[in-house]
Amino acid sequence: MKNNLALIRKILNGVYLKTQIDEIHADISYLNELIDSTEYQGIMNPVSGVIKKQTIYLNKALGGIKCDKLKTHLLTQLKRGALEDFKSAEIRPFLKSLQLELTQYQAVKIQVAVEFKPSDLRDMIQILERQSPQPVVFDLTVDPSLIGGAVIQYGNHVIDQSLKTRMNQFKENWQASVKE
């Protein structure tokens, strides 16, 4: 596949959650296993008159991919008839580059009180990416008991800016002043 890096970045554009990264890792593992299978090796061996069989086989196999963007790209290539891209020699480097690109992402653990829209989560990620050399994804947990705010673990830094913690601190300060 040509322009691997540009293609990979296009596939990864808009990824903002660690679960999405994990999903793509799983898809890469799935595709690698598929390519290593004897069935795949047998079907993808270039023999005339087998193109239809290859197309049908690949159509079915690509259905097992979870990441929509990756699946869409591969299905588009298949529709174009670019069967060469599915040979081991072509697809393996692509998958390897994709995997390497995934390792660049930095996961930031964040606990929030409500479900946010994907667009808002992407805006929040951009705040972190302003000064970060690496792309960032959220390892997101929704915990309504936080009431509001967030608990964030970014590298070695942890901050608890949840309303629950602030109210507990307020309560402790009050108790301390009452005891006095």
Partner: protein, 173 residues
């Protein structure tokens, strides 16, 4: 014959009279003798009786004296004992009175101390209860706030809170 008879009768009568007179005389003498003896005995007995009476009287008198002395001694002893008892009674009474006074005074002091302690405890209890009430009030406020706040905070406000937290961690980095 008549004369002899009359002489015999007369002689017998005389003789009888004479005999009787002799006998009477004898008996009279004897009676007098006996009477004298009796009188003597009577006198002796009277004397003895008198002596006896005298000795009895003296013995009685001595006994009376002894008894009177005994009684006097007993009275004296009783009086002494009475005085001693009265003295002991007064001392004990005084002692008890003093002890009672001390007990009363110490009871008063104890009551006063207990009153002060009770006042102090009441004050402490009040302060403690006040703190507990304030604590409970705070817990209530916090729990109500925790229940009410999530609904009171809008989506945009939630978004803003998270963004502020992200800005803060960005600054720390």
């Amino acid at each position: 014959m008549r004369d002899i008879l009359f002489f015999a009768i007369g002689a017998s009568i005389v003789g009888t009279i004479f005999l009787v007179s002799i006998i009477e005389l004898i008996f009279t003498i004897r009676r007098r003798k006996i009477m004298a003896e009796l009188n003597t005995k009577m006198v002796e007995m009277k004397e003895q009786y008198g002596q006896t009476i005298t000795s009895i009287t003296e013995t009685e008198k001595e006994l009376e004296k002894k008894e009177a002395k005994k009684i006097k001694d007993l009275r004296t002893k009783l009086d002494e004992e009475k005085t001693a008892f009265e003295k002991e009674y007064e001392e004990k009474l005084k002692d008890i009175t003093t002890k009672n006074l001390r007990s009363v005074n110490s009871a008063k002091a104890l009551a006063s101390r207990m009153k002060k302690e009770a006042e102090l405890e009441a004050g402490e209890y009040l302060a403690k209860r006040k703190k507990e009430v304030e604590q409970e009030l705070m817990n209530l406020v916090i729990s109500v706030s925790k229940k009410v706040l999530p609904e009171g905070i809008s989506y945009d406000a939630q978004k803003e809170l998270v963004k502020r937290a992200l800005e803060e961690i960005q600054e720390k980095k």
